[in-house]
């Protein structure tokens, strides 16, 4: 009996994990960063759609941990390990962090894409998770889909078509 592969969707400021043969996808990343952690040995992958770099920006409780780079990666790592991933086998791929609009009046929010990427890289370093590939920056939106079996991330953009990292 073959189980048919499903595509698990991750919304904005959301996270989830999948097991082979399922795929995991998030759509319309702009300044947000899609972070994938995966352990091919355990046939597991987790994805977070990170919106903001730092949970200190939050002015409310309870915190949505998937929303911030500093809380999302920690939480996703814990979820992965609870589901059977080995810390030593976990790797990462990331995409997103675009600058969708250029404005002259530059509040900090205008640079949010690059700041999100920096924060994600910092967290990966903190937890010693190797970054295997990335597609970040630019000024296009991205839709990403990850296959925990192959460890490959499909990336679709409006202007540049499809690519794979």
């Amino acid at each position: 009996m073959h189980k048919t592969a499903e595509i698990v969707k991750v919304g904005i400021a959301d996270m989830n994990i999948v097991k082979v043969p399922d795929l995991i996808r998030t759509t319309g990343l702009g300044s947000c960063v899609g972070v994938v952690l995966y352990d091919q040995g355990a046939e597991l992958a987790g994805m977070a759609h990170v919106m903001l770099p730092d949970s200190s920006l939050s002015r409310t409780e309870p915190l949505n941990k998937a929303k911030f780079a500093d809380t999302a990666i920690k939480e996703l790592l814990e979820l992965m390990i609870q589901s059977g991933a080995r810390q030593a086998g976990i790797k990462a791929k990331i995409a997103g962090g675009a600058q969708m609009f250029q404005f002259s009046g530059s509040s900090d929010m205008m640079r949010i894409g690059p700041r999100n990427v920096e924060a994600v890289l910092q967290e990966l370093k903190e937890f010693r998770i190797p970054l295997m590939a990335h597609d970040v920056g630019g000024n296009s939106g991205r839709t990403i889909e990850f296959d925990p079996k192959t460890g490959l991330m499909q990336i679709r953009t409006v202007n540049k078509g499809n690519s794979e990292i």
């Binding site: 919304g11 904005i12 400021a13 959301d14 759509t27 319309g28 990343l29 702009g30 300044s31 947000c32 919106m51 903001l52 920006l57 939050s58 002015r59 409310t60 949505n64 929303k67 675009a98 969708m100 609009f101 250029q102 404005f103 002259s104 009046g105 929010m109 949010i112 296009s140 939106g141 991205r142 839709t143 409006v158």
Partner: protein, 213 residues
């Protein structure tokens, strides 16, 4: 959801009226510009999750033409004018008198995009100035930015301020429709107004409505 707790149905009705006035003026401006009757739906004001905001705008993956501007001044916020690509092409053809324009055509898009940007500029300016008159608040538009991209990538930018205080947004949404349009799908364009969290109380008190702190 703390910032939403003090918002009641009465407040939502007021925001609806705010949308009514702004989008009404923009629809009139569009009618004049296109020399066509443009219908405006009664604005809907909804408290929705971020994912639902994307759905309102056509789905996170859907590619649209959008004009985005930041509202600066006493009640800051974000504003979007969103058009499905076929509708944007139609307006560009009318404005540039180039009947063969399509977005798939790589060449010579500059004039077309600048026409679309100007359209967005006029409409959002008209929306905002009527809003400013109605509330008696000083509101200034930033230079509008045009983007042809996925709804999620574009609209999420307007949710950044709200995302610091909530996982929900209050969306003031007005749909526009050409009266003589023959295509079955009736909704042709959307105005989205997303006030920043601190702006709600400022708008309400400018209109003389009490808010329980």
């Amino acid at each position: 959801m703390t910032f939403l707790k003090s918002i009641s149905d009465v407040h939502l009705d007021i925001l609806k009226e705010v949308g009514n006035i702004g989008a009404g003026h923009a629809a009139t401006a569009l009618s004049t510009l296109m020399n066509k009757k443009i219908d405006m739906k009664v604005p809907s004001v909804r408290v929705v999750s971020f994912d639902e905001v994307m759905e309102l705008a056509g789905g996170a993956d859907n590619v649209v033409a959008s004009v985005f501007l930041r509202i600066e001044g006493e009640a800051p916020g974000s504003m979007f004018f969103i058009l499905p690509l076929p509708q944007a092409e139609k307006y560009i053809r009318q404005l540039t008198k180039n009947q063969t324009f399509t977005f798939t055509d790589e060449q010579d898009n500059e004039l077309a995009l600048s026409a679309l940007q100007e359209l967005g500029n006029i409409l959002s300016g008209s929306y905002l100035s009527s809003l400013s008159d109605f509330t008696n608040l000083s509101l200034y538009p930033s230079v509008p930015a045009l983007s042809i991209d996925m709804v999620g990538a574009v609209v999420s930018f307007g949710l950044l301020e709200l995302s610091q205080v909530s996982d929900y947004a209050i969306v003031i949404d007005t749909a526009l429709d050409e009266e003589d349009a023959k295509l079955p799908e009736s909704v042709k364009g959307h105005f989205f107004l997303l006030p920043d969290p601190d702006s709600f109380h400022i708008i309400f008190s400018a209109l003389g409505v009490k808010v329980d702190a």
